[in-house]
């Protein structure tokens, strides 16, 4: 039922990287989240979806250990290496920081590894650019590269496609899946973009202060709680986006064919590649 990294034998043996049980955070006279359970396994992409203020970021912060829960607890495997792309990151312009320097912000890496990672994400040509001059999409790619160059066990991405245009969004999500396939890390993804999340995720957790429903994208999409939260049209999110791309666009504009290995998760419905389908 879950998509797992190819090198892992059977779901029963998959290591749980981090799990939270019965998590509750109480702030300013109300529970931001309560009774939230979740677990992220190696090689699994778990998406948190939910309306604004439903506690997605709060849950991520608790899982990261940045916020101590008032109820419940978090347990992680020892020596868990985390890569994090926060929701908001404003870098003061007085700090001269190139994309290359950003890569070694929380740890040293060999120049060769940095070049390779920048190549993978398609921003090698921006290595010497100052981060304050990047576009929204370029900046998100740079932050993602910085997080994956650490070869994390767990990657936490809080709204990683903000400020990215539609085609770029799809490319970024495919990149995230590709990272999971190659590095075998667990990914906790936060997004309010239902459509793409539904196509790129193994497990969806639908939050609204508590866990409304969770499971595979298909099972969540047909859950009445999910429909109540997002409206009936949200049920189409799964169907529409399970289509096959035969090519993808690199950030510098080049068009490249998509590798067959990447498409394991998708059916091949005939929707024009990268065209915005009607919802």
């Amino acid at each position: 039922m879950q998509q797992i990294a190819p090198d892992i034998a059977s779901p029963a043996e998959i290591e749980i990287l981090v799990s939270g049980g019965d998590l509750g955070v109480y702030r300013g006279g109300k529970w931001l989240i309560r009774g939230v359970d979740l677990a992220i396994r190696r090689g699994e992409i778990v998406s948190l979806i939910g309306p604004n203020g439903s506690g997605k970021s709060t849950t991520a912060k608790v899982i990261l250990g940045n916020l101590k829960p008032d109820e419940g607890n978090v347990s992680a495997v020892s020596g868990l290496r985390v890569g994090y792309v926060p929701q908001t990151l404003h870098i003061n312009w007085t700090l001269p920081l190139t994309v290359r320097r950003l890569m070694s912000l929380t740890g040293r890496h060999r120049a060769r590894d940095i070049d390779a990672a920048l190549d993978d994400v398609g921003i090698r040509h921006l290595a010497r650019a100052e981060v304050q001059h990047l576009s929204g999409g370029e900046f998100q790619r740079a932050l993602l590269t910085r997080a994956i160059i650490r070869r994390p066990d767990l990657l936490v991405l809080d709204e990683p496609v903000q400020g990215v245009d539609f085609a770029g969004e799809i490319a970024l999500y495919e990149l995230i899946r590709d990272i999971r396939d190659r590095q075998g890390c667990g990914i906790l993804l936060i997004s309010h973009d239902l459509h793409i999340v539904m196509a790129q995720t193994d497990t969806v957790i639908c939050l609204s202060g508590h866990v409304c429903c969770s499971g595979t994208p298909k099972s969540v999409a047909s859950n009445p709680e999910y429909l109540r939260l997002f409206g009936p049209r949200a049920a189409d999110a799964v169907a529409v986006y399970q289509h096959h791309h035969d090519h993808t666009h690199l950030p510098d504009g080049r068009v490249v064919p998509l590798e067959a290995a990447q498409s394991e998760h998708k059916s091949s419905a005939d929707v024009p590649p990268d065209g915005r389908p009607d919802v």
Partner: protein, 270 residues
């Protein structure tokens, strides 16, 4: 060479500038200019207390500056007032307390102006030892916490998530600031210390391509500014602190001029 008061001031000033530059970069990056100002203003209270208790002035200043920083951290945790209001209250009340306390100690004949604006004549050989010894410790510790502090400057959340303990680096950084304030008080005076931290760093920003480069440049520009300011102070018989700050301002303005007339700013993208 140490016999001559001016050489002593010059050597001491260079030592101060070398430490102030790199530390000042973080003050600029972290938007802590007013925070630094508040700590510096509290230094006068430190002077008064040190005179009262008959302990070393620099130790008194260091202690009070650390206390002011801790008080601010604690007050910020309880959101009672906006940060700028808190800083304003603490900054001016510690300065006023210091002035009142010095006024009350009628038996002391001290030149208040020399503490407020710096004094060329006040630097002793022992001071030089403290500046270079303390300065070396400050720079050493800054090198040790450089990476976590820089990561926390970019994003505290990110640094915490990836296991770098940003709160600890911030606390150490504040202690380093207190140390720099203590050792630079005699040269620039409590009212103007922050400018020696900030102006060389701000000037360096225009020429730097990376954080480490900016820190080194700020130290270098600080040395230029201190030397120019002290010679000006000697030449025109002006107080040393303001003279150094004016020299820093001139250099900063010249760096702006380069933008207006000279080459275009180095392009980020190729």
């Amino acid at each position: 060479m140490f016999d001559d008061f001016f050489s002593r001031a010059l050597i001491a000033g260079i030592g101060v500038a070398l430490v102030a530059g790199p530390l000042g970069c973080f003050i600029v990056w972290r938007r802590m200019a007013y925070f630094g100002d508040t700590m510096a203003h509290s230094a006068l209270l430190g002077v008064a207390l040190a005179l009262l208790l008959e302990i070393n002035l620099m130790i008194g200043v260091f202690g009070v500056a650390v206390a002011a920083a801790l008080a601010l951290i604690i007050l910020q945790r309880r959101p009672t007032l906006p940060v700028d209001a808190l800083l304003g209250i603490l900054s001016h009340s510690t300065l006023a307390l210091g002035l009142v306390l010095v006024g009350l100690m009628a038996w002391l004949r001290i030149d208040l102006l020399s503490y407020l604006f710096g004094d060329l004549l006040a630097v002793s050989t022992l001071d030089i030892g403290v500046i270079y010894g303390g300065g070396a410790v400050v720079l050493g510790v800054l090198c040790l916490i450089w990476h976590p502090l820089l990561a926390a400057t970019v994003s505290e959340e990110l640094a915490a998530a990836e296991g770098l303990k940003p709160a600890r680096s911030r606390l150490i950084f504040m202690i380093l600031m207190a140390a720099v304030i203590a050792i630079s008080m005699k040269i620039v005076g409590v009212l103007l210390i922050t400018s020696l931290l900030i102006i060389p760093a701000a000037t360096a920003r225009r020429f730097a391509q990376g954080p480490e480069q900016m820190a080194v440049l700020a130290a270098g520009l600080g040395v230029v500014v201190v030397v120019a300011g002290l010679y000006g102070s000697l030449e025109f018989d002006t107080p040393s602190g303001p003279s150094i700050v004016v020299a820093a301002l001139v250099l900063f303005l010249l760096s702006l001029l380069r933008l207006a007339t000279g080459r275009p700013k180095p392009q980020a993208r190729q």
